[in-house]
């Protein structure tokens, strides 16, 4: 069923945090240098979808969000771990 609007906002925040933790996503408004690619977040979603073998759409769809909500290890999934 369609998702309730504030739920959507909540989900988006959750997804941002997830991508920050595990896929080196940095939200634009904090960085001094604007990234050339305005779809930075959907790139990161694509990276996460590809890692988990989900359909790569770049969209925060139900399955992607479901996967993000699985209990997991706190180490990032991609290399830029420091």
């Amino acid at each position: 069923f369609p998702v309730v609007p504030e739920k959507e906002k909540e989900d988006m925040e959750f997804a941002k945090k997830y991508l920050e933790n595990f896929y080196d996503f940095k939200e634009e408004k904090h960085s001094l240098f604007r990234s050339k690619n305005p779809n930075h977040m959907s790139d990161k979603i694509r990276e996460m979808q590809s890692f988990f073998g989900l359909e790569v759409t770049g969209e925060l769809n139900h399955k992607t969000l479901d996967m993000m909500k699985q209990p997991r290890c706190g180490i990032p999934d991609i290399r830029s771990y420091s």
Binding site: N21, F22, F51, F52, G53, L54, E55, K63, M67, Q70, P71, R72, C73, G74, I75, P76, D77, R79, S80, Y81
Partner: protein, 402 residues
């Protein structure tokens, strides 16, 4: 691995358990950590030495929320634990979120410490995450039966890329070891009291026949069952997994889901309301719920009410509407009432008498969308559940988008 592939530059690695979770007995925490380390020592030259004071290479602790590093924990669920790549100081250390419910067994209400520790200690040794589903280093927790748990080949390839194989490469299964006395090392070599050598049918891949191609026209199946909305097709040690959520077919092995179950099922069926799948092999059957094998199994199939003359069954399928399960043996079938847990009177009956157009034995069967699907050789027969009339025949592997 991590950037620049950090690894321990020695084979004797020390570890120390700094504190305990109130969820488990201390001895059970000790055993879970030691068992987790033994997974890795059994496939590398590494030895793990436990120390009880001072700085160890791998410092293991339980903590909640902010605990002094840059990665605060997040309460129940979400992030369960994390660990640092090999290096001095915090390098190698493993932290477990105390807000989780840690358990010794695989349950639905908690997280198995052995499984999570084995994953985090993989990081402590230098492994990064793997995107191979079923690998221990896959980042998402998956409840599993931990009896006879074995590393996935992907994990073994990863750790041996960093440390090489064990000095003496054991070629037979390592036994879960008893708890160690203090300062006793965990030997990578196999304890001498191992059973006399038996050729495992599953352990040495070179003995396992190749998995047939999805669209092999002659593909037949041992057993087929639904499982939480998915459909699993079994042949030998292989599983073809069809999910309504993913377009492709996933290939797994039985041991990656149920390590302690032997390959080569005869039959399988799901009682979806109980979230329970039963597997049959020879004169025994097992009940699993997800990955967990229910205790007190295997049981003899005679417990279901078969006469002693029946030594194995060919196929089984559960009818969700009538709560009856049909069990096929030769050209006959039995009907088992799941509510009363007893065989129905008046059985066995001839298959052909009740299922028109099915005049032969049934290799495998499952039900979906109001239809039964009976498999015989490379053919499958779609039957209307209500009137038991044959609708049409198809190739056995029509479910694989061939």
């Amino acid at each position: 691995t991590f950037p620049h592939s950090p690894r321990w530059q020695k084979e004797d690695v020390t570890y120390r358990i700094l504190n305990y979770t109130p969820d488990m007995l201390e001895a059970d925490v000790d055993e879970a950590i030691a068992k987790a380390l033994q997974l890795w020592s059994s496939v590398t030259p590494l030895k793990f030495i436990r120390i009880y004071s001072g700085q160890a290479d791998i410092m293991i602790s339980f903590a909640a929320g902010f605990h002094g590093d840059f990665y605060s924990f997040d309460g129940p669920g979400g992030t369960l634990a994390h660990a640092y790549a090999p290096s001095s100081g915090i390098g190698g250390d493993a932290h477990f979120d105390e807000d989780e419910n840690w358990t010794k067994f695989t349950t639905y209400t908690g997280y198995n410490l052995f499984l999570v520790a084995a994953h985090e200690l993989g990081h402590s040794l230098g492994l990064g995450h793997s995107n191979v589903f079923g690998a221990l280093m896959y980042p998402i927790y998956m409840a599993r039966d931990t009896r006879d748990y074995r590393l996935h080949q992907d994990d073994i390839d990863g750790i041996q890329a960093l440390y090489g194989p064990p000095r003496e490469s054991p070629v037979f299964p390592t036994r879960a070891f008893p708890p160690q006395k203090p300062t006793e090392t965990i030997p990578a070599e196999t304890p001498t009291e191992m059973p006399p050598w038996e050729e495992p049918t599953v352990m040495t891949p070179s003995k396992t026949p190749m998995r047939p191609e999805d669209c092999d026209p002659h593909l037949t199946f041992d057993a087929i069952t639904t499982l939480r909305g998915e459909t699993l097709f079994f042949k030998g040690s292989y599983v073809w997994r069809k999910s309504p959520y993913f377009s492709g077919i996933e290939h797994d092995t039985i041991s990656s889901f149920w390590p302690s179950l032997a390959a080569g099922f005869d039959a399988a069926y799901e009682v979806d309301k109980k979230d329970r799948v039963l597997f049959f092999k020879d004169d025994q059957y097992w009940a699993v719920s997800g990955y967990s094998i229910e205790r007190s199994f295997p049981k003899p199939i005679q417990d279901l009410g078969f006469p002693p003359s029946v030594r194995k069954i060919d196929a089984a399928v559960h009818d969700q509407n009538t709560k009856k399960t049909y069990l096929f043996v030769g050209n006959k079938y039995w009907s088992f009432n799941e509510n009363t847990q007893s065989m129905e009177r008046g059985y066995p009956r001839k298959i052909a008498a009740d299922f028109h157009g099915i005049g032969h034995t049934v290799d495998a069967a499952f039900q979906k969308n109001g239809h039964f699907y009976f498999f015989h050789g490379s053919k499958q027969y779609e039957v209307d559940i209500k009137n038991k009339k044959l609708i049409r025949t198809k190739k056995s592997n029509s479910w694989f988008n061939c």
